[in-house]
Symmetry: C2
Subunit: 430 residues, 2 copies
């Protein structure tokens, strides 16, 4: 195949590589200005798992709502056991038997006790519960008597009203991701329906004449389209609903049409490929063509320096690098925070820790490197080990990484033991 070397592509625009590079935090701030908070919907609590609360939730009542027994035993008056300090046992007449869910109408007075179960409401009069295992009982003439042999302090094994929460207290802030602990609280307060942020719907497609469908056999010079599937998984983790669109060949007219269609239909559009400085970098050309507002098309980072963002009619387009490693990192640094902001979450960016470098890293670069690596803890110290293969084109080490190690450009290589900043990858540590 001999291509005409004088074709239109040949006359490439050298301005393509005179892009203005922005720092990662600046790029993140630029995007942040254009993010619109999404709409909300009401779902059953059972469907709320993994969703983001759209409203603050206040306690409709105190919790516990009643003085609750923390033990199976006997509800007593603690002062009845004062005599036990001399080693004496005190015998109390058992006047009731209170299972969970019942309310006793028998007031515990001096010399009496009520049998009570863990979680049951402590009866009026009683101010302590003595554990069943610490008692002895006998029945005389059909009346049960219980012996206590130790001094029991007031309040012992009685959980006071409102120990966990007072009425009107803020239980959960809007923007909270709902997990098992949140569900437990919401159920406890009878919040059986929750208002949550609607998942942003994100259209994703790859560009590149070299791309085969994952169902196609290999062909010379071609590769299978892996990025859209990887992105779909990343989008789900980020709380969005991915829509996988077919890949398109390197054709700017087709790309423009597809992007415009996707921007109309979806909340956000993410593409991969076509953003470097080559002749077929159709996404690069598209965002420069004036039909949308270019936010940035060069970031001082490796991998993914060509990461591009644009906005059209208030909707964001992210044109990520086609290199798997760069695509992965570009998503985490720019797309994921956008989705979390749309969802109303407070923590937008990857959690940042400090760590010691577990092995030498000697790749020098004038851009900040986000090196895939693994996190380990040894004797309470966090150790970050760079992956062996961390080129932007490499996909094999993505799966084994639990962090991104941030190597600033001023570090001319970093030796083992060097303090570094690491960004935790979602799900990397569980």
């Amino acid at each position: 195949m001999n291509h005409n070397i004088n074709n239109a592509h040949q006359e490439f625009d050298r301005s393509k590589f005179q892009r203005k590079a922005v720092q990662v935090p600046d790029a993140q701030s630029i995007i942040k200005e254009y993010v619109k908070k999404g709409i909300t919907e009401t779902v059953k609590l059972e469907q709320g798992d993994g969703r983001v609360l759209a409203t603050d939730i206040f306690a409709p009542h105190a919790f516990p709502t009643f003085r609750r027994s923390g033990m199976d035993g006997y509800a007593i008056l603690s002062t009845d056991t004062d005599c036990c300090s001399n080693g004496e046992a005190v015998w109390l007449k058992v006047i009731d038997n209170i299972p969970c869910g019942s309310v006793s109408d028998q007031i515990v007075t001096s010399g009496t006790a009520s049998r009570i179960m863990t979680g049951a409401q402590v009866p009026e009069g009683a101010d302590a519960v003595v554990m069943l295992e610490m008692t002895e009982s006998r029945i005389e003439d059909g009346i049960e008597w219980v012996a206590v042999k130790k001094v029991i302090e007031a309040c012992k094994n009685v959980t006071p009203i409102g120990l966990e929460l007072q009425v009107g207290e803020l239980i959960l802030k809007k923007g909270t991701l709902i997990g098992p602990g949140e569900i437990s609280v919401l159920a406890t307060f009878g919040v059986h329906e929750v208002e949550v942020s609607k998942r942003p719907v994100v259209g994703i497609f790859s560009t590149g004449t070299e791309l085969l469908d994952i169902r196609e056999p290999l062909q010379p010079g071609k590769i299978r389209n892996s990025n859209t599937y990887m992105l779909a998984s990343q989008l789900s983790e980020a709380g969005a609903e991915p829509v996988v669109m077919n890949a398109i060949p390197d054709d700017i007219t087709l790309a423009r049409q597809k992007v415009e269609e996707a921007l109309e239909r979806y909340d956000v559009v993410v593409t991969t490929g076509g953003v470097s400085v080559g002749d077929y970098d159709i996404m690069g050309d598209l965002v420069r063509s004036g039909t949308m507002k270019l936010l940035f098309n060069k970031v001082t980072m490796r991998p993914g320096s060509v990461t591009t963002a644009a906005v059209k009619d208030g909707k964001l387009l992210f044109a990520l690098s086609g290199n798997p490693g760069a695509c992965y990192v570009g998503f985490l640094l720019f797309v994921r925070p956008t989705l979390r902001q749309m969802l109303g979450m407070k923590e937008l960016y990857l959690k940042e820790w400090s760590a010691e470098l577990g092995s030498d890293y000697d790749k020098v670069n004038n851009f900040t490197r986000y090196v895939r690596g693994t996190l380990e803890v040894s004797d309470g110290r966090v150790i970050a080990k760079p992956a062996q293969l961390d080129e932007s084109s490499v996909m094999i080490t993505i799966k084994d990484s639990s962090c991104l190690i941030v190597i600033p450009p001023d570090l001319k290589g970093a030796p083992v033991g060097q303090k570094v900043k690491v960004l935790l990858l979602p799900g990397g540590l569980s």
Copy 2:
């Protein structure tokens, strides 16, 4: 409500609290013997996210499959640039233009070059790619010439065949959880359908006459059933499919019937409540009644010392404490590992790290405590802070925890700075 103090429950069996306590690791080992690996199913790769691979996957071909250009530029013979060491430029005749996905039929020989895109197959003859930005070009009589001014080493910007993987290499082990990195690899190799472990179906219900449905208004002495919803969320995270069944009152006949029905229908059954030493501890009575094999009903841990496991017809029943904190921990220490084993995963238990205690912890106990807490990293050191309220009955601190701090019984209180073992909670750090 005055209960008859001479009823059957009154004559409680004191053997109830003469249970044989087992250590947590022993309890885990006992369960492990009874876990059967679940069955598998084949799903589309797109549906494989979050599932567990049931087979080893080997590379059906090397990757990359061809010598791949890492840059937009010109494919050249590196020896042609030897003269540049003297500051001279070398002019090469451009003989082809190779976009991604194409294979050039023009062999690069000395004095020639082919324009090439990032990701395209490097043409025969060429052994290096020079970046577009490092070149200059001119057209003379319809022929393009490119100038290179620097010495380019052999292999520069050429990714060799098999850099990431050789044909036949193990790509992914069975038992691997599929996430974005795994999907990227599978798609790359055209593995568009994957055999995964079927999600275990787990029936869950709570027991307790005190339980209200989450839709019901409060009633004196009663609480809402929060544990089943919390467990459903925990089960989803653990890779299982939860089936929420209605709570039942404290009635052993009903409980037996419900457990037997659930064990027939589901792969695992988890109940909460009814396992302490009180009169209405129907689950405790049920597992002792001889219709199933009791594995253990007391564990030397707080919270959740009454955690109970039994097996019937090869299926596991977990009877967890009704206290939310104890239920939460009991699930993580015993049920989650069971499900992960059924799914064929290799890492069954919560990830264990060492950390420094961030504040004093002074609750003394003769059982090992699993204290809910938060993990922070300060200057590369892991700090674990115990939650303020960590009683087993407390649910409010579950949501804010990222770890369980393990306080052994021999520690008579632990001061700030003490080295402790921590268990990472699922999703606690992302």
